[in-house]
């Protein structure tokens, strides 16, 4: 079996998404990432990814990456834990994602959109 050539681009997407997801999850005030229904990254089947790279498919749920002319547009959907204003969390996630993608891939990030879908309330 050969990997379709057009999917090779998506391997880079997965690396970007993986770096972004890890950075977002580690940002103070983030409770969890919230998977959406659609995303370019999810279109690459996990099996295809593992065959192409020999690595386990990373947890990128909640992150979508769109490549435009060699630069990445990243979308992160998350829930905050309610301890820090959502606006501050969003700004911190943007900085962390840009730094992490720069450190782990050669893909420049054009923009990081952050959607806060839920703010956790004290139990």
């Amino acid at each position: 079996m050969t990997t379709p050539l057009e999917n090779l681009g998506e391997v880079a997407d997965v690396h970007v998404a993986s770096a972004a997801a890890g950075a977002a999850r580690a940002t103070p005030g983030v409770e969890r990432l919230q998977p959406g229904l659609w995303g370019l990254v999810q279109q690459l089947s996990h099996e295809l990814w593992e065959r192409a790279t020999g690595e386990a498919y990373p947890d990128v749920a909640g992150v979508e990456v769109e490549m435009q002319d060699g630069v990445a547009l990243v979308d992160v959907t998350l829930a905050t834990d309610g301890t820090i204003p959502a606006g501050q969390v969003a700004a911190a996630v943007q900085r962390a994602v840009v730094d992490a993608v720069a450190a782990r891939t050669a893909v420049p990030v054009l923009s990081v959109a952050v959607h806060v879908c839920e703010i956790a309330l004290p139990r």
């Binding site: 959502a86 606006g87 943007q94 990030v109 952050v114 959607h115 806060v116 839920e118 703010i119 309330l121």
Partner: protein, 171 residues
């Protein structure tokens, strides 16, 4: 036997049902059923503890995204928060005032004033919790604090409407 059911329901006995062996047997088996029914009402079987979480996971996965409110301060791309999430924070803040329950909460955005919203909330009050004036002032304070501390937005207008007053014992 259905007659015996009726008698048992009504707590009736007559000479026939006391002396007739068939009726006595029917009565015993119905009493047996009543005891077993009481045991079944006190059913010890509980849903698995993971069920609630699984239901909520399924609900979250298809939660309506709904409208979003732009967040200020993001520099590397757009940032927004779901209106529903902000409404939940505001209701919780109002609830934290003793004797107050938030009912509905609507948020609108002033065009061209990023980071500023208008809040319209309806409330239930418990009768005897104190003057409404004071309670509403307290609610306003909590809403402003929650918006600043948990969301990062500012309300230029907060409309509070009392739609219900509850007697103490019903809370």
């Amino acid at each position: 036997m259905e007659d015996v059911v009726d008698d048992l329901d009504a707590g009736r006995t007559d000479d026939h049902s006391r002396t007739c062996e068939h009726c006595a047997t029917a009565r015993r088996s119905l009493e047996n059923l009543m005891e077993a029914t009481a045991a079944l009402v006190a059913d010890p079987s509980e849903p698995p503890p993971t069920l609630l979480g699984r239901i909520m996971q399924a609900v979250r996965a298809e939660a309506r995204r709904g409208d979003v409110l732009a967040l200020e301060g993001a520099e590397l791309g757009p940032a927004d928060v779901s209106e529903v999430a902000v409404a939940a924070v505001l209701r919780f803040a109002a609830d934290s005032v003793e004797g107050v329950w938030a009912r509905s909460c609507h948020i609108t955005v002033e065009p061209g004033s990023a980071g500023t919203i208008a809040v319209a909330m309806t409330l239930s009050l418990r009768y005897g919790s104190g003057p409404a004036e004071g309670l509403l002032g307290e609610v306003r304070g909590r809403l402003a604090a929650a918006l600043a501390g948990q969301v990062g937005l500012h309300a230029h207008r907060v409309d509070l409407t009392i739609v219900d007053v509850w007697p103490e014992e019903e809370l």
